[in-house]
Symmetry: C2
Subunit: 80 residues, 2 copies
């Protein structure tokens, strides 16, 4: 099994990114955990930083970080 | 079926991101196309921009853009 952790902090723009990632991931191959720093999981921040997470949302796949979205455009913010 | 297009330009750092995305996507649910601008597919750039792609690599899922990685660290470049 591939191990994947999706870290985020609950912003509305990125919750939609999250749901898309979760939808397309093959759960037969990937054991996926979602960590929301804003909901009692702030104690996972150090762990995320140790993996190389520089921004959220981020998906860590077998220890390799994929940063998703580098920022939200004003249009995204307006439509969020 | 969900429609997804992965756009990239072939940099070595991001090819590894690509392979990870491709590995975890559920092909039973997602029809996935990979577009490499550097390999004769530069004619797809306008289409990507029209979808809102601002940087590569990017994954467009049913018309919604997820930008992946906002830049490569010098460490990534050294290890690429």
């Amino acid at each position: 099994m591939t191990n994947a952790i999706f870290y985020h902090a609950g912003c509305p723009v990125c919750v939609s990114a999250e749901s898309q990632i979760l939808d397309i991931v093959d759960r037969n191959k990937v054991e996926l955990e979602v960590v929301h720093f804003g909901e009692g999981q702030a104690n996972r921040i150090a762990e995320a930083e140790a993996c190389g997470v520089k921004s959220v949302p981020a998906l860590v796949i077998d220890g390799q970080v994929l940063h998703i979205n580098f920022g939200a455009s004003m249009e995204d913010v307006k439509n969020a």
